[in-house]
Each structure stands twice: as C-alpha cells, then as structure tokens.
Amino acid sequence: MDRRKFLALVAGAALAGWVPAATAQEPIKIGEMNSYKVFAAFLEPYKKGMDLAVDEINAAGGVLGRKIEIVSRDDNGQPGDAVRVAEELLTREKAAFLIGTFPSNVGLAVASFAKERKVLFIAAEPLTDKIVWDQGNRYTFRLRASTYMQTAMLVPEAAKLRKKRWAIVYPNYEYGQSATAAFKQLIKERQPDVEFVIEQATPLGRIDAGPVADAIAAAKPDAIFSSLFGPDLARFVREGTTRGIFKGVEVFNLLGGEPEYLDPLLDEAPVGWYVTGYPWQDIRTPEHAKFLAAYRAKFRDYPRLGSIVGYSTVLSAAAAIRKAGSLDSEKLVEAMKGLTHSTPFGEITYRRQDHQSTMGAYVGKVGLRDGKGVMVDWSYADGGRFLPSDADVAKMRPAE
C-alpha cells in the first residue's frame, strides 16, 4: 500500500463515521453486544444459539410481520467500549433495543446506559445479583439464573451433608465474591455451626493452582465450595487431584457442569463433585429435544450452555416484541414484565418485581461416561424457587 492509498483509506474510514447508514425498512434490528474475544469459549456457542433462534423465528414469519435481525458488536470486555457500541447500535443501526453482555461490569454499565437512554436491555449472561437488585432499573431485565440463585440451588445439597469445616476458593472479582458471600450466608442459615476454615481469592485466569491446592489441604476441610471456571478450574482440578486433596472431601463447584468448562477436562473430570450446569446429552423434554436436533443439524456440533443462553435471549426478545405489538421502549418494557415464553429449559417468566427471569439450572454431580465428564443424578432447579422473598427483593431494589 502506498502512502496516498493509505491516506485515502484513513480519510474513507473517517468519512464513514459521518455518513449515516441507510435505514433498512424491512427487518427489526436488535442490537447485541458481547465480549466475543475475551470469553470466546462461552460466546462462540452463544452466537450459534442466537443464529439458530433468528432462523427459526424468521422461518416462522418473523414478528409483527417483519423479520428480525441481530446486529452484533464486540464490546472488548470493556464497559466503555460497550457503551460506545450500544450508542452505535441505537443511533446508526437504529436497533430497537439491546441484548447481550457477559461480564458483570459490562452488564451493569449497559444497564445504566439503558436507563439513561430509556431503552430496553435484556442482559443475557451477566450473573451479578446487582443488575436486578441493588442497581436494578426499569429498563433492564436479566435472563440467566444469577450467582445468588445458582448458589442457592447448591446449598440444600451442601447443607444435607452436615459438613462443618468448609474451604472456599473463588476468582477474585464480582462473580466469585458474591458467590462466596451468598454461599456463606445461605449455608449459615441452614447450618449455623459451619466453620469457614480457609478462603482463597485467586486472580481471574491466573490461579497458582498448586499452592492454592496445598493451602486448602493444609486447612483440613471437610468440604470445599468453589466458584472457579475455565482455565482456573482445569488447573485446580488437575493440581488438586495429583496432590490428592479431594480424597474424602466433598466439593461443590458453581458452573462446573457447564459443557464449556467440563468438557475440556476430558477424562479428568472430577467425579463426584456437586455442580450446576447443563447435561445436554440426557435432557429428554420435548422443548430441549427439538432444540438439540435443530442445533445439531445446523452446526454439526452439540450445544453448550452458551448456546442455550443465546437462543433463549433471542426468544425473549421476539416474545417481548410480539407481546408489545410495537417497538416503543415503554411498551416493550411493560411487555417484558411478567413475560412468559418457552425455552429449551422449559417455560420461563420475567418476574414483575425484579425483572429476573425464572430460568433455572441443572444441579447434579459430575460423572464419567466414555472418557468424558457428564452430569449424573441431576435435576432441574427452577430459578423461581431460589429467589429471596418479595419483601427482601423490594428492600434491595431502588424505586423506579
């Protein structure tokens, strides 16, 4: 490339910033942003799930007589970038509303943006409790079962074991911190005599698994509650197993049964651990069977949990438009309140009181089948049953 051409390129790029994109009249555009490159392992299947849902909805004639189109942007895992692409989606792409996001801080930033701009935002994956409670707002709804809910799903099993000495290990940021706080609070309610013998907060993605495993072993716990995931989890499992620290110790791991994090462990999946996750191989409900078949036919791959989240988020968006009968933000928000629709996990409802959906998670234990980790003895925990009382929610949530 010679210099003149390059300058032309830069000038062209600059101009493109000003020329308004032609507003397509036809499809309904839904703006979506996510940290595709930062959390690729979860978000690639997520994207596929969205694509499948869009195909199905449009094949069935779309909504309000128009097709839908998801316009996706990478937010780089940064709240600042997320707010910028959110602006771009609304102003240039003329997106009707926003969906998506993965990390808590990005989700919260976009939620705040949605409130400021008075536009609907369906948070797909951020697990932070704050997005619907402390910092909840009129325009923000959340699909995924939150950190609190998933922790609450594991606690009954944990309390049943009557273990006294608990070790806790968690990634040192919002998700791990609130999982730990929720666990300590919930288990103490059921079992006041528990003792937390050690807490290890590890830097996200950079766990020193050997030292952490040995430190936990030195504390001689009866049980471990972990909220590690991804490479951190894999390292912890391997180093802990080699060191024999899990012998005679019950382990509970939030999200540990999600295929994204369980499958990479191959035959070293930690058999007997209690986890939340997604046993896609064994769910026999008609909704899921239909989804599974369609997904496999389209992508020649099996779905991960991300696929479910992406797929269901788009279903929620379409259902909201259908119910509102309009793309007006206020009408969409009203439609989202109490919106009920079907997902591969069964029927879910976006609660009026806090905009949290009742989508649940599967709770079970890790087993091995054909040299791969799977979930066994699982059951579906409906999200609606693992939420604080309405009075407590009302106390946490700011008035509209």
């Binding site: 390059f6 830069v10 808590s104 930033a109 911190q177 020193d208 952490v212 040995d214 030195a218």
Partner: protein, 627 residues
C-alpha cells in the same frame, strides 16, 4: 506447619522454573536488540498450542510423543521468532525508540486471532507427562512428580545458558552486544545474523516454557497477556539482560506468591488481611520495591547510553502564523458537526476527543520529556474515579466533579512521579506500570469505596450537560483547551527544558537545570491532563470500572502515540483518531477484527516508521521541495 512451608517452597520452585524460561528469553532479546517484545507472551501461548497439537500427533501416551512434541513446539516457536525478526523488526531498527513495541503489539493481536482460528475457542487441556503422572510423598504430603521435574529444569536451563554465553564465541558476542551494541558492529560482526539467532533463542525459550506448562495449564487464549506481564516483571526485577537476575527474580516472585497463598487470611488489629488477594499484585509490588531501591534490578547494570540509536528528532518548529488559526478552525468545524451529523458521529468524536487528550498527555511525557510510561492509564483512571466519586458520593455537580479529575490525576502522578523520575528508560516505564497495577488492584478490591470490579455506575451528567450535543461541545472544548495547553507548554521554556533534559541530562545539569525536578513536574503535569481526560471519560460513558486504569488502556495510549508519531506534536491527535476509527470500523466489519487491526498497524509501522504525522510531514516537505 513446617511441612506446609516446605511444600509451598517446592511449589514456589516449580512455579519459578516456568517463569524463568519465558522471562530469560525476553531478557536475552532485550539485552541485544533493546526491543521491548510485547509478543513474547504470544510466543509462549504458541508454544502451548503447538505442543498440544504435536503431542496429539505423535501420540499422547508415549514418552517420545510427549517430549518430542514439547521439543518440536519449542523449535517451531524459535523459528517463528526468527522469522518475526527477519520479516518485521529488522526493517524498523532505525525508527524512533519504542516504535518496535508497536510492531510487537500488532503481532499480539494477529497471533491471538490466528490461534483462535486454528485451535478454536475452547480451552485445550494438555496431556500429563508420561511417567510423571503421579506424586511423591514428602513430609506426608503429595508433591507432583512433574513439579519435581520442573524444579530441575530451571537450574539446568540456567546452567546451559551460562555455558552458551560464557563458553562459545556466539555467547561472547551476545554478551558484548548486550553491553554495547555499537561496539559489536564496529568489530565487524554480522549484526543481522546475530539478532536473528538471538530472537530464535529467546523465542525457543518462550516456546519451551509454554510447552512445559501444558501439563499444568490448559492451552487458552488469555495466557499470552497474563504471562507477558509476569515475564516483564521478572526481567526487570532481575535486571534487563541478566540471565542470573531473571532466575533470581523468578524465584523471588514465585516464592512470594506461594507464601502469600500459604499464609491466607491473617487477623491483625481486628481487621482481616487476605494475603491470597494480594497475589493479584504481588509481583508488581515486589517490582516497585526493588526498583525504588535498585534502579536497575537485582543484578542489572546501568545500561550503556545508546549512541545514535534510532532517529534523531528534528528541532521543534515554532508554530507558524497560520497554525493557531488553523487549529481553531478545525475545532470550530468539529463544533459544527452536531448540525449535520447523526448521533453516533458525536459519540465517536467524544471518544476521539478524550483519547486525543489522553494520548497528548502521554506524548508530553514520552516525547518532549523522554519518559516512556507503560502505566499512564493510572492517572486517567484516577481522574475518572475522582470525578465519579465526587459526583456519586459527595453529590458534587458535574462541573465541580470534573475539576477533581485533574487534581487527583495530578496528585497521583506527583506521588508516583517522584519515584519514577529517579529511573530511566525501560526501568522507568516498568515502574510506572507497577504503580498503575498497584492502583488498579486497590480500586479493584476496595468494594465499599470504588465499587470493586463492577466499578461506579450511573455517572450521567444532569442539567445542561445532559443533552448529548452540549456534552459533545463541552468535551470538545475541554479537550481542545487541554491539548492547546500541552502544546503551549512544549513550546514554552519549561517544555524546552524537558527536551533538554531528555537530549542530554549531562548538559542540562551543566547549565543549571535540575533535571529530576523538571521531570517530576513534567510527570505530574502529564498525569494532570490524563486525569482531566479520565474525568471527561467518566461522564461521557456513564460508568467506569477498573479497566479504566488497566494495562490495556495504557497500551492503547502507547499505540496511539506511536502510531501518530512520537516526534511530532500533532502525532498523538492523529494517532488517537486513526486508532479509534480503525478499531470502530474493523470491529464492526469482521469477526477476526483483532487480526485485521494488528495487520493494519503492522502495515502502518512498516510503511511509516515515523508514524502518521511524521509521514505527513515528510510528504509536505517533499511537496514543498518539488515546487
């Protein structure tokens, strides 16, 4: 208790080995070529992925499959490193200092997407080493056999490197070049071959480190950036170019981390201190402490002044009679955009204006003051948090909160600058990074005050600034005034004094300039304007989180300055504009936007080694000469 300490000590030794391998390669490369190789972590990541594939290819179960795979991966990465040197870096050795860093940053982006494309997004768990799958009982605890192997690998590699450096002619050349690059050229050594071979060795060691880590950590796409930060810290703590120092530093850092984890929570004076949380910044805290006491690391020596390296900056041309009117006209034209543009143009222009101010403040530090900062985002972030907290917690109006931003950004820079100006070159840069990471970790962990990892939400300006057009005009005005002030300072005696101190501290001192004092004030001023940019950022985004002062933001700033051209005043503005637009356009157009962005930067680097503004200036000069 003793058993715990011994076991954790062994853990520390094992961790030190892999850290040492990757760090020593970086150290050797820097020692000879003076290149700060950001892509070193990418080479390590490549080592992991290649080893995974090769071991799968040779057979996972057999010793030959495993060790053959590890060695093959390391060799392949070595070749990749040599190719990078021959195809990219060799072309830009004569560019201004640090410009090579831009090329290696571009490589990081390209390699990351290439790995995503080749190996997919899912983490790839590596095989365990055949014959070393189990554990050995020591003091009643189980120590993995593989850890024992790693403990041995570090000293063995150290010994082999010592032999290589002290018993071969090649090693003598490398040591000579590390001390004085020009001398080696004078002695008639083929520099190109020497550099290529040094890159091969450095990359080989990175690849080996990655491959050997595979049984302990799945190959994943995030490992490149996390390891390169660690490697830099080790190199700097040990002393750049010192292999023994790297070993010592790796040992120190790995042991410190293992001990922090072993100590866990300690209750002191009624407060619980979590040492495990301290692992978030342990290495940076150690680096800051070491550099404050030993400015060239544990075993490093003061670097020989690089004579004639890089291009000499031409004298500063005083702004012509048309310059300020032209600049004012440009601002005026930008101020008219809201009349004709759509909403998003304003959003993009707000970003550009803020980053231009941020980049200009970093340029003030890097260019005229000659102090490269890897942690300039600290002051940007301090400014944004100061503004955000004044707005949210103190209930200040936006205008007042915005004044807190430069004040706190400047105060932070005044504090850290006092230490930083006592160092020079890469050591100074790394100390700025250490301070930035320390600030980051405090902000990240102080939930009650800063909102922790979630940050501060709901910073939307109310009143007359609520309207986006007004906000845009305000941001434009403040940024333009900030950049104007920075330019005035560069042209003022103070800016001249900074340049004087940069060009020759010896001479500056000999004509009565208190070099450190001027540099300190310059550092604080750069922080002040970065803080101002941060304050604007907080109110334009409505929320901030620790990323605001993270490494990525600092690196973005560096890229903008280098892209625009460090030797021109307009460079940072052009760089910020080009980078923001490129990122915005490319991220929208393609899935593999990182790779495309990386290639675009690489193209700019190779075509315009003086940066965009530098190229424009040459173009203008040629046009003038042709007339």
């Amino acid at each position: 208790m003793t058993a715990n300490v011994v076991i954790q000590f062994l853990n520390g030794l094992a961790g030190a080995s892999s850290l040492f391998l990757v760090a020593t390669g970086l150290s050797i490369i820097f020692g000879v070529s003076r290149i700060v190789n950001f892509a070193h972590g990418s080479l390590y990541m490549l080592g992991m992925y290649l080893a995974w594939s090769l071991i799968a290819f040779f057979g996972r179960g057999s010793p030959f499959g495993f060790w053959g795979g590890v060695l093959g991966a390391a060799l392949a990465v070595g070749v990749a490193g040599a190719l990078v040197e021959m195809l990219v870096l060799r072309r830009i050795y004569r560019a201004p200092e640090m410009f090579q860093l831009l090329a290696t940053f571009a490589l990081v982006l390209v390699v990351k997407d290439a790995a995503l494309w080749l190996w997919g997004a899912e983490d790839l768990l590596g095989p365990r080493a055949p014959g070393l799958r189990g554990a050995v009982e020591i003091l009643g605890r189980r120590v993995p056999e593989y850890d024992l192997l790693l403990i041995a690998v570090g000293p063995v590699v150290l010994g082999l490197l010592w032999l290589l450096m002290n018993r071969t002619r090649w090693g003598t050349l490398v040591r000579a070049a590390t001390q004085d690059r020009e001398m080696v050229a004078v002695l008639g050594v083929d520099q190109a071959k020497l550099f290529t071979s040094v890159f091969f060795l450095g990359a080989f060691l990175a690849g080996l480190g990655g491959a050997l880590q595979l049984p302990r950590e799945p190959a994943n796409l995030a490992v490149d950036l996390s390891i390169v930060a660690d490697a830099f810290v080790v190199v700097v703590v040990g002393g750049m170019g010192s292999i023994g120092g790297a070993f010592l530093a790796a040992l120190l850092i790995a042991q410190a981390k293992a001990m922090c984890i072993a100590i866990g929570d300690v209750e002191l004076f009624g407060t619980v201190f979590s040492f495990s949380k301290f692992t978030l910044v342990a290495e940076f805290a150690i680096m800051a402490a070491v550099l404050v006491v030993r400015p060239w690391g544990l075993l490093g020596r003061p670097p020989a002044a690089a004579r004639g390296a890089g291009a000499v900056e031409p004298p500063l041309v005083p702004p012509g009679p048309l310059f300020w009117p032209a600049a004012m006209l440009a601002v005026l034209v930008l101020a008219l955009v809201p009349l004709g543009g759509e909403g998003y143009a304003l959003v993009l222009l707000i970003d550009i204006a803020i980053f231009a101010l941020f980049a200009a403040s970093l340029h003030f530090l890097m260019g005229p003051a000659g102090m490269v900062s890897f942690g300039h985002a600290a002051y940007f972030g301090l400014g944004s948090y100061a503004a955000g907290l004044a707005f949210l917690k103190l209930g200040w109006p936006v205008e007042a909160a915005l004044l807190a931003a430069p004040a706190i950004g400047g105060a932070g820079a005044l504090l850290f600058g006092w230490f930083c100006v006592r160092l020079s070159g890469v050591y100074l840069a790394m100390l700025t990074l250490a301070f930035a990471q320390i600030v980051w970790s405090v902000v990240f962990q102080w939930d009650a005050f800063t909102g922790g990892s979630n940050g501060l939400v709901g910073l939307w300006p109310q009143g007359w600034l609520k309207d986006r057009t007004t906000l845009y005009l305000a941001v434009l005005l403040v940024s333009a005034l900030g950049i104007f002030a920075l330019w005035r300072m560069v042209h003022a005696p103070f800016g001249y004094a900074l340049r004087a101190a940069r060009d020759s501290a010896l001479r500056a001192d000999a004509i009565g300039i208190d070099v450190r004092r001027f540099q300190w004030i310059g550092f604080a001023l750069a922080g002040t304007f970065a803080g101002l940019a941060g304050g604007l950022f907080a109110f334009s985004k409505g929320s901030i989180s620790p990323e605001t002062l993270g490494v990525a933001r600092s690196v973005d700033g560096l890229v903008m300055v280098l892209l625009g051209g460090v030797q021109t005043l307009t460079g940072p503005v052009l760089g910020a504009t080009a980078f923001t637009l490129l990122q915005d356009e490319i991220a929208r157009a393609t899935t593999y936007w990182r790779a495309v962005l990386g290639l675009a930067i690489l193209a700019i680097v190779l075509v315009f080694p003086m940066g965009i503004a530098g190229a424009l200036r040459i173009l203008v000069a040629r046009a003038g000469a042709g007339r």
